[in-house]
């Protein structure tokens, strides 16, 4: 093999790489927050007494978890315009990532909610707290606290999977990598550098998510488990 690596050819494009990394983070954070919101709503549907709500949330979770993100992305990006709803590449990317993360979060949050002992709910009822208040102030915070590690690793996996949205040309790190390698024909170097940046993003997200846990779950902090 007589190949000389020339990383300088790639590092010349550093502003593009930085912008790509920022965009990847922005996509991920939006999908994370919106996906968690869907997850909370989805989980409360999954455990609701209404059969219809349970069935809808269950179908959503199963469909999303058993089809590839790439196909979901194509459905949003190419399929929705056929229904008259035209999305930009970034909108389609964020929508697909949110839709995807929502389903995984639903299952994780549901597991958290179900892990809360019935006696907590009975105690709240006996104190005259309404069902909604019990859910919002008693069950949900403790449930989220318990499954937070699972949520956090799911979010990191989602950030990595977001590289797929480059397939429709959404402007994030992988798409910029592709653009750079089409200009300088240094594919290996470009993707090695991209891999390194993603590795950095993975650690950054882990630190950020740990910081969020530190602030959000003071009880965990007191127990020394964060």
């Amino acid at each position: 093999m007589s190949y000389t690596f020339q990383f300088g050819e790639v590092l010349r494009y550093w502003p593009l790489l930085v912008q790509g990394a920022i965009n990847t983070l922005v996509f991920s954070v939006i999908a994370m927050v919106a996906g968690l919101a869907i997850g909370v709503v989805g989980a409360s549907c999954r455990i609701s007494s209404s059969r219809v709500l349970r069935a809808i949330a269950g179908a959503y979770v199963e469909v999303v978890r058993n089809t590839p993100l790439l196909v979901q992305l194509f459905l949003f990006y190419f399929g929705l315009p056929a229904l008259g709803l035209r999305l930009s590449t970034s909108q389609a990317a964020i929508l697909a990532l949110t839709f995807n993360t929502g389903a995984y979060s639903t299952e994780i949050v549901r597991a958290g909610i179900e892990s809360i002992h019935r006696s907590q709910i009975e105690a709240s009822t006996s104190l005259g707290i309404s069902r909604l208040q019990t859910f919002l102030h008693v069950v949900l915070p403790q449930g989220l606290e318990r499954v937070y590690p699972a949520l956090a690793s799911q979010f990191v996996l989602m950030m990595l999977a977001s590289s797929v949205v480059s397939a429709i040309g959404a402007e994030e790190l992988t798409a910029y990598g592709n653009r750079i390698q089409s200009e300088n024909f240094r594919a290996m170097e470009v993707f090695f550098v991209c891999a390194a940046v993603y590795l950095g993003l993975t650690y950054l997200m882990r630190v950020l998510l740990a910081a969020v846990a530190y602030v959000a779950f003071p009880r965990r902090r007191a127990l020394g488990s964060v």
């Binding site: 978890r65 089809t67 590839p68 995984y104 299952e107 996996l157 397939a167 990598g177 590795l199």
Partner: protein
């Protein structure tokens, strides 16, 4: 431009065979690699442990798509013909082996330490203990997440479409390019993926309930 017909559905189903073939390759290759890595992770040699752990960290900390690009372009650097299926099989194998390693290491370490100690007090070597005592017992906890990860593998094969390998997702793109009916085409593609993945998910869940009696958290994208 023409309409989406049963002929196209047949084409998609034929392409789905490549999705299955690639999944199988990744499962077998990833399983072998994962077994080796899992043993490395619990090895008493520190260098082996760190090496295996480093490999897993890097593979799990970078996107599969980037790994796939590296192999796809890397193979062409070695002077071989650009062969998307080889690149996809290698990338998926190496990616899956990192995840299998972690799943199986967890299963091995879930076996009580006393089993190791009593086996060694009976004069069994470390390898004999692992092979005859630990592995048969760790099969039970390992099975549900292993089947669960097979679902991830099937879904991950769709990335091979992005280096031009004509499996199910790429076939969907091709049919869409001719018919320009994205909604029915990609819905059909999604249904075929679902038909492959859902039974595996259900099996994983059933196995999980049988082993633990409570639900696990299945992760992945």
């Amino acid at each position: 431009m023409r309409t989406f017909t049963s002929h196209d559905i047949l084409f998609l189903l034929q392409a789905a065979r490549w999705t299955l073939a690639l999944s199988l390759l990744a499962f077998v290759g990833g399983g072998l690699g994962g077994a080796i890595l899992a043993v490395g992770r619990i090895s008493r040699v520190r260098a082996l442990r760190s090496l295996a752990s480093l490999y897993i960290q890097v593979v799990q900390g970078t996107p599969l798509l980037i790994q796939l690009f590296i192999w796809y372009f890397g193979i062409s650097l070695l002077g071989a013909d650009l062969s998307p299926i080889v690149a996809a099989a290698i990338a998926l194998t190496l990616y899956s082996s990192a995840f299998f390693a972690e799943i199986w290491r967890g299963a091995i370490q879930s076996i009580a330490k006393g089993q190791w100690e009593s086996a060694s007090s009976l004069g069994l070597t470390r390898f004999e203990t692992l092979w005859y005592v630990i592995l048969p017992q760790s099969l039970r906890p390992a099975l549900p997440p292993t089947v669960g990860f097979m679902v991830q593998i099937v879904k991950n094969t769709s990335l091979a479409a992005l280096v031009g390998f004509v499996e199910l997702a790429r076939a969907g793109q091709l049919v869409n390019n001719i018919t320009f009916q994205p909604l029915p085409v990609f819905a059909c593609v999604a249904v075929i993926y679902f038909a492959i993945c859902f039974p595996l998910s259900a099996l994983s869940r059933w196995l999980e309930r049988r082993t633990h009696g409570h639900r696990q958290l299945v992760r992945g994208t």
